[in-house]
Structures are given as C-alpha cells and as structure tokens.
C-alpha cells in the first residue's frame, strides 16, 4: 500500500521557509486573484507568477504533474465542454455543433483558472509541513478564542488525527497481511464474502486505534496536558523580511490584475 498523505516534500527553498501564516493568507489571496481575473493579460500574468513560484519551490515540475495530472485532466475536459455552450456568433459550426467566440473565451478562462488554482495549492501542500500548517492555522484562528472556541484543543486534535492516519494505515496493512497469511481469501467475490473479509481486518484495527488513543491520552496526562492554559511551541512562528516581500508581491499582483481587467477586458463577464 503506497499512500502518500499530507503531500509535504521536505526541502529548504524560500517557500519552505516562509511563515506558514503568511502562506495561508497568500494562498487565500491568490485564490481570490485567480478567480477575479477575466482578461487574457491578467491570466497570463498569473500563470507567470505561478510558474515562478513552482521554480522557487525547487521541486521538479514532473512531480507537480504526477500529483495533479488526473484532476487536471478531468477538469480540462469539463472546461473543454464549455466550448460548446456559448451564445453569440458561431465561429465554427458543423451540424448541431457550433463553437462561438464566447465559448472559446469561456473555456480558456476556466481552464487557466483551474490550472493555476491546482498548481498553487499543490505548491502550498508540497512546501508546508503538517506541523507548520496546524501551527499556522492555530495562530490565525486565535481571534476565535474571544467567542469561546477552544482553538488550541481543536488544533491538537487535528495534529493527532493527522499523526494517526499514517500509523493506522501501517497497522491496517499489517493486519491485512496477517489475516491473509492465515488464509483469509481476498479474491472471493460476493457481498457476504466481502463482509466476512471486512471483520477480521476492521475489528482488530479498531481495537488497535482505541488502544493507541488510550495510551496517548495517558502519556499526555502524564505530561500535564490541559493543566496550564497557555501552551507554548518548540518552534516559534516568525514573520521576516521575506514574508513581507511575499505579501507585497501578491498585493502587486492584485493591483496588476485589477488594472489588466480594466484595460484588456474579454467581452464576456
């Protein structure tokens, strides 16, 4: 079973070292920018920006393609269907199929947006460790405390859940193998047989997850978890010059996109 979870690829690029809070905000801002761009020029600039980020992440383009390939392909196909749903003057028609100028523009815009969005979020996933993600989220969600939301507990729950996933997968794999070597027939068809196969794997898995959870909660209590209100982190989040620079460049991009939308509008939206 080769399941890669939390697609983090350790590295030391600038993007890896950015403050995760800034990365969250940036990603959010970039999404807005991507979806508000409707001129070709703006889309071109955005695509260029994305390409620069990909290069800056120091992760090979091949790996990006491998990870986004399937989703990208599917969305591209649906975007292509946009070609046939445009009103206005047909550019090309053959039988009942007609392609209008608006259809073409439509599908180019949709495709570029989806492409950029996918690559940008993949870039974020690749360069941000699960730990950074949760700390960043925790820090950003702090204001919610005022309304009685216990952010710290919420975050620790997410962190533990994330930790449990790969461990449980390994465990599931091991249990699966040991039942297989006791002769559980994995090739039998039919719903009854499938359920019969399900029990020997799921039951021990649950037992083991509960055992682990119990042991972990004991260990946390032994370390006085929940005893003091304010918990500190081993790694303090710090906003430095490069983070400011990142925000500034996104702001610049935003202004650029708004400007382009004005001077070079496509006629549709």
């Amino acid at each position: 079973m080769d399941i890669v979870l939390g697609q983090y690829l350790p590295g030391n690029s600038v993007l890896h070292r950015l403050d995760p809070r800034i990365k969250f905000i940036s990603l959010f801002a970039l999404m807005i920018v991507v979806f508000s761009a409707w001129s070709y020029l703006a889309l071109l600039i955005i695509t260029f920006f994305t390409a620069v980020l990909v290069l800056m992440s120091r992760i090979r383009v091949k790996i990006y393609m491998k990870n986004t390939g399937i989703i990208l392909g599917m969305t591209m196909i649906s975007a292509l269907l946009n070609l046939f749903y445009g009103s206005g003057k047909p550019v090309f028609s053959w039988g009942f199929i007609s392609i209008t100028e608006m259809g073409i523009q439509n599908s180019i815009v949709v495709m570029t947006r989806i492409f950029n969005m996918l690559i940008l979020s993949t870039c974020f996933m690749f360069t941000t460790s699960p730990n950074d993600m949760t700390y960043g989220l925790q820090s950003l969600l702090k204001p919610l405390k005022r309304w009685g939301v216990n952010v710290d507990d919420l975050i620790i729950m997410i962190t533990i859940a994330l930790r449990f996933i790969p461990i449980s997968l390994t465990e599931a794999n091991k249990i699966f193998n040991s039942q297989k070597s006791r002769g559980a027939d994995i090739n039998k068809r039919g719903i009854v047989n499938k359920i019969a196969l399900f029990i020997p794997i799921v039951l021990p898995l649950f037992a083991s997850v509960f055992r682990r959870a119990y042991e972990l909660s004991m260990a946390m209590e032994c370390r006085c978890y929940g005893f003091k209100e304010e918990r500190t982190h081993l790694k303090r989040l710090e906003t430095t010059a490069k983070d400011i620079f990142a925000l500034a460049s996104i702001l610049l991009l935003m202004i650029g996109v708004i400007f382009c939308n004005k001077i070079n509008p496509t006629h549709l939206f």
């Binding site: 091991k174 193998n177 040991s178 002769g183 029990i199 020997p200 021990p204």
Partner: protein, 286 residues
C-alpha cells in the same frame, strides 16, 4: 533435498518519491529439514521483510524462492497455498485477534483451509496444547487475556494451520521473562514433536543460542553469515560491527577460559557452561 532455498533473492520497497529502497539484497541460502533457524540483525536489517518473502506475502523483485524444490510464485493463483505451507506469525501477533472466543480465533486458519468441522476441532485442540493454552480459556474472549496468553493464542492460530515451515517474527518481544520462557518451551516442544522447519527471528542472543541449529545474520538487507550458533558467536568482533552482541554466557566463559588458561572453545549454552566450569574446578582441585 532442502526444504527452502533462496536463489539471488532481492526485494525493494517502492520509496514513494520514485526511487527504490533495497531491503533484501541478492540472498542465497538453503534450509534443510528438521532445523530451527535463528535470524538476528539490527532493527531495520530486513528480518521481517525476509519473513514475508518466505511466506509469499511479497514477491521477490529478483530471484526466486523454492519450497520443496518448487518456486513459490510459479503459480500465481496458488499463493494462498503457500501461506498455509509456510506459516508466519507477525511481530505482536496478538493485534490480529478478532473472534469472540479463543477457540474461534485459532480455528480461523483451519476453516479457511476448508477443513471439516471435526478436523478443525482436532487442529484447534492440538494447537492449543502445543502453544500451552489451557482448556478453560478456550471459550474466553481473546481481548480479556493477559499479554502472554494473547501471544500464545495468536501463535496457536498459525500452528493450527499445520504448516511445513513455521516462521516466528520476534515471538517473545514485549513479554515478561516467564511469558518468554513459556513461549520458547512451547516452540521447542512443538518442533521436537513435528520435526518441521522453524525460522525464529529474535533480538535475544541467548534464545538464539539455546534454540537454533543455524543462525542467519542480516545487516542492511545482506545475509552476512549463515552458520551454526557456535561459529557465528565465535566471531564477536564481526557481530559487534553489525551492532549485535554475543550471548552473556559466551562473554563470561571467554573470560573464565582466559583467566584459567583452559580451552578456548566458544560456549553458548548455559548447560555447557555449567559442565565446563565444573570440569575446570575439578581440574584445579587435583
């Protein structure tokens, strides 16, 4: 004819990011019948991987494994038969228990083999006896048992399959000394009755020295040594390079021999050591 032969067996785990990590490299060995084979090696040296290769759970990326002269993977669809012929208990096998009663859990394997109810019954009772499970716990839930009893239940579940080769992956790890001794005795008795091949993976050199006819030493996926325990444990320097130790009694006897200027043979078993010390004492008295 050897029971198990490995010819140039390699296995690599697919390492996520597109490159392979070799875990077992070009292994060659053959195991004769009626032997207990010990497997030692540092954590991560590939012991469990080797066990799974022999059991047919994973397929060698190169080379082949022969069971009674026949390639394990000759007939793809028949690999389930291989699981029955080469029984394997995993590390911490008690985690795989799932039935309502100990009896039913031990019966899981034999039922999968398609045996009749009566045959299953005799298999279960025999296996329980071999594994040292008393009759009164057969109807209890496996989840209510002590650690040692759970472990024995899991081992009985494999013995009940009646395999030609029994592989035990660290069967005593995490048990208290009494639990450990009981399991080792069960395994030894089982072997003496059945005369089958047992492959015994362990971290504890003393157990290996007491039980095994031959020892495999693994390091980073390589088979470094495959010889009698006596020969293997006489190479203490090689072993310590691989992060392994010789049994305590071997170290003690080496010092005794040096100080008394007696023999320089390697002693690996407690009984031999006792006999040897008595001999030395008698000699001194004369």
């Amino acid at each position: 004819m050897p029971v198990i032969e490995a010819e140039n067996v390699s296995y690599s785990y697919n390492g996520g990011a597109g490159f392979d990590i070799f875990r077992v490299k070009k292994m060659n060995f053959s195991i004769e019948k009626n032997q207990i084979i010990g497997v030692i090696g540092h954590t991560g040296s590939g012991k469990s991987t080797l066990a799974q290769l022999l059991n047919g759970l994973i397929k060698p990326t190169e080379g082949k494994i022969l069971l009674n002269g026949k390639n394990l993977w000759e007939d793809f669809s028949n690999i389930r038969e291989v699981h029955f012929k080469v029984g394997l208990t995993f590390q911490y096998p008690e985690h795989q228990l799932f039935k309502d009663t100990v009896y039913d859990d031990i019966a899981f394997g034999p039922i999968n083999q398609g045996l009749s109810k009566q045959e299953v019954n005799t298999r279960v009772l025999n296996a329980a006896e071999f594994a040292g499970i008393s009759k009164d716990i057969l109807q209890r839930s496996p989840f209510d048992l002590s650690g040692g009893e759970k472990r024995r239940t899991a081992i009985a579940g494999i013995i009940a399959i009646d395999p030609e080769v029994l592989i035990l992956d660290e069967p005593t790890s995490g048990l208290d000394p009494i639990g450990r001794r009981e399991i080792l005795e069960s395994i030894y008795n089982y072997h003496n009755k059945k005369k089958n091949v047992i492959i015994f993976i362990s971290h504890i050199m003393e157990d290996i020295a007491e039980m095994c006819d031959k020892v495999m030493v693994l390091d980073k996926g390589n088979l470094e040594m495959f010889d009698t325990p006596m020969k293997v444990f006489s190479n203490s320097s090689i072993l310590s390079n691989l992060g392994l130790e010789v049994p305590q009694i071997t170290r003690i006897m080496k010092i005794v021999h040096q100080r008394t200027h007696t023999s320089d043979e390697t002693i690996i078993k407690i009984d031999d050591a006792i006999r040897n010390i008595i001999k030395i004492l008698d000699m001194k008295r004369m």
